[in-house]
């Protein structure tokens, strides 16, 4: 069993690596590790079914991306064929380089989709809700209510549909959806009224209509945001990278610390707390290796091969064994698989 934050770190590492490189060797390795994880890590019992298969998604996206790029980007030395120049947007030479670059973009999108598909499969909804920071407890309550009522609302929708069908109602066009939608909405609002009464009867902030944050919290957030804005302007508009980065980070830190302080004020009870085990450290370490390799300019590590670009002429991309090996950090959850217990 892997902890939810460890899974978030894993998906974050996959996202960072896929966003940072266009080198087909590294992209291919990352996709291979994600595909193996998808194939062997069993889904959690109470996760929703994924609407699209990652394979089908990849087939469509890679084909469309390659086609679109090849038809609209007329750059590259290896001309496959030419379309009449008068054809809007697609007229001109269709090159191998554009085709390859489109395919690479499609592969990256497919990898991101597959990584999140795995996350959706292994983390039940309650684990995702538990990840909402304590400072956002009203939002978490709203989300809990909504998720609890989604199955009820679906059942109610089915009941309304059957009741209207018994009366002879047929849904031929969009206009015919009003007799289904309106009872669903009005019934839902009636239920909201009853729920509000029940919540108030049980002591949920019945008397106070509004309790905004105190002035100290708001002041700290305003200060943090002002620092973020100033730092960003210094960094990007005036090229003061180091000073700007420091000011921006300080602003972000002020906002995050304020959120943490607001969260600490919220009484919190956890009935089944997730335990952070040795396995979670291993998954986290693997994720940090991937992130560190693709984001941090380590002295002595040649990172040139990360930035592959097939234009103007297709070349064989470089490969650094250290960077390639670092991608194996994504195998953490799979390596911990023991009889289907990795999630």
């Amino acid at each position: 069993m892997i902890n939810s934050p460890a899974w978030i770190a894993w998906v974050g590492a996959a996202l960072v690596a896929l966003s940072a490189t266009r080198n087909p060797f590294y992209v291919g390795l990352i996709l291979l590790w994600i595909a193996l994880s998808l194939a062997f890590i069993p889904p959690a019992a109470d996760t929703p079914p994924v609407p699209f298969s990652p394979l089908r998604f990849a087939a469509v996206v890679i084909a469309l991306s390659a086609l679109f790029n090849a038809l609209t980007v007329h750059v590259g030395r290896t001309v496959l064929f030419r379309l009449p120049a008068g054809w809007l947007l697609i007229g001109g030479s269709v090159t191998l380089e554009a085709l390859v670059y489109g395919m690479l973009n499609g592969l990256i999108l497919s990898g991101i989709f597959a990584a999140f598909t795995l996350l959706n499969r292994v983390l039940p909804v309650r684990a995702l809700i538990r990840l909402i920071p304590r400072a956002f407890y009203p939002v978490a309550i709203v989300i809990s209510i909504a998720i609890t009522f989604v199955p009820t609302t679906l059942r109610r929708f089915q009941q309304i549909k059957e009741a209207q069908a018994v009366r002879g109602h047929q849904t031929r066009s969009l206009r015919d959806w009003l007799p289904l939608l309106l009872p669903l909405l009005v019934g839902g609002l009636e239920r909201a009224l009853k729920l509000a009464e029940a919540m108030t009867a049980r002591g949920f902030a019945g008397a106070g209509e509004r309790a905004p944050h105190d002035a100290g919290t708001q002041t700290a957030i305003v200060a943090g945001l002002a620092l973020v804005l100033a730092g960003w302007l210094l960094r990007l508009a005036w090229q003061m990278t180091a000073v700007g980065g420091a000011v921006l980070s300080a602003g972000g830190l002020v906002v995050l610390v304020t959120l943490w302080v607001v969260g600490r004020r919220v009484p919190h009870t956890s009935y089944r707390p997730e335990k952070w085990r040795k396995n979670d450290w291993l998954v986290l370490a693997g994720a940090l290796v991937v992130i560190g390799a693709f984001l941090v300019p380590w002295p002595g590590l040649n990172r040139d091969s990360i930035f592959y670009y097939p234009y103007p002429g297709l070349t064989v991309p470089g490969f650094n064994a250290l960077l390639g090996g670092a991608t194996a950090g994504l195998l953490g959850p799979l390596a911990l698989l023991k009889g289907g217990s990795a999630r």
Binding site: T47, T117, V139, I145, F157
Partner: protein, 285 residues
């Protein structure tokens, strides 16, 4: 009866709230629109690519930061049981509509979720609309298994739709259109416009990092007008038809269901307008 003037503490809080909204709007808009305003940067080809690699993280972090701050500020309204229950149920209903959309996809960006976000924002206020938009996208992603890196951007933009919906009141009150078909027409136009703008905003965050024909592709240092011209060409080539379907869907849903749904929301607004008071000793309120 005249209302008492706001106290100094209330004025201070209002000022701080306005400052938070202003700063998040400026940073969020600047983060989304930075390809248009960033001046030319003289970099070597490798540096340009390195910058291209780290910018998405910077933008995601800035947009994420703005989002959590707005969420923290807006959720200050969600401390009453009525607000929480109403929002929770409406988010559930809208998520079911998204569920239907995933099961039976419409053409292009055609989606049934935006018209309810606009209407709830219009009737119940901007804060409610922001939470309705952002949480609908979040809950529907959870129940349909479509959590992904696009989700924070979708939540933020859908939140903006709900938050900006009360702007329609300026028009409907000015021309006294409330309660008639003209009011629905204003909301339909608003929903239609957001159908296009939503897609336009969702494109901007990745446009500088996407490749394409040179006349549609962002490059460091291009003048602002040229950047707008290229983005317009990119948008027309890649997204306009998709977003036009969303705009059409929003107008259609509003035209078909807008008046009836508005009536229902207003009726319940009156029914929800009561105050709980703690009972005094002896059991009498």
């Amino acid at each position: 009866m005249t209302e008492a003037p706001p106290s100094a503490a209330e004025l201070k809080q209002l000022l701080l709230s306005l400052s938070i909204y202003w700063l998040t709007t400026v940073i969020g808009a600047a983060a989304f629109l930075y390809p248009f305003w960033l001046p030319g940067v003289q970099q070597s080809s490798l540096m340009t690519q390195a910058h291209t690699a780290d910018s998405p993280f910077m933008l995601t972090a800035l947009v994420g930061l703005c989002f959590v701050v707005v969420l923290l500020e807006v959720q200050g309204a969600a401390t009453s049981a009525k607000f929480v229950a109403l929002l929770g149920i409406l988010v559930a209903i809208n998520s079911v509509l998204r569920f239907v959309e995933v099961a039976i996809p419409g053409p292009g960006g055609f989606s049934p979720i935006f018209f309810l976000i606009v209407l709830t924002g219009y009737v119940y206020g901007g804060r409610f609309g922001f939470l309705m938009g952002a949480l609908t996208l979040f809950v529907s992603a959870l129940v349909t298994g479509t959590v992904g890196p696009w989700l924070p951007y979708q939540m933020f933009t859908a939140g903006w739709i709900g938050m900006s919906a009360p702007l329609c009141k300026v028009v409907t009150r000015l021309f006294r259109l409330e309660g008639g078909w003209a009011e629905v027409a204003v909301l339909a136009l608003f929903g239609g416009a957001w159908g296009i703008v939503y897609g336009g905003i969702m494109n901007i965050w990745f446009w500088p990092f996407a490749m394409g024909p040179i006349d549609q592709h962002w490059q460091p240092g291009i003048p602002i007008l040229e950047a707008f011209r290229r983005y317009a060409a990119f948008y027309v080539a890649t997204s306009f038809i998709w977003d036009a379907m969303r705009a059409f869907g929003n107008i259609l849903f509003m035209a078909l269901f807008g008046q009836a749904v508005l009536r229902a929301l207003r009726r319940f607004q009156k029914r929800f307008a009561f105050q709980y008071r703690p009972a005094e000793a002896g059991g009498r309120p």
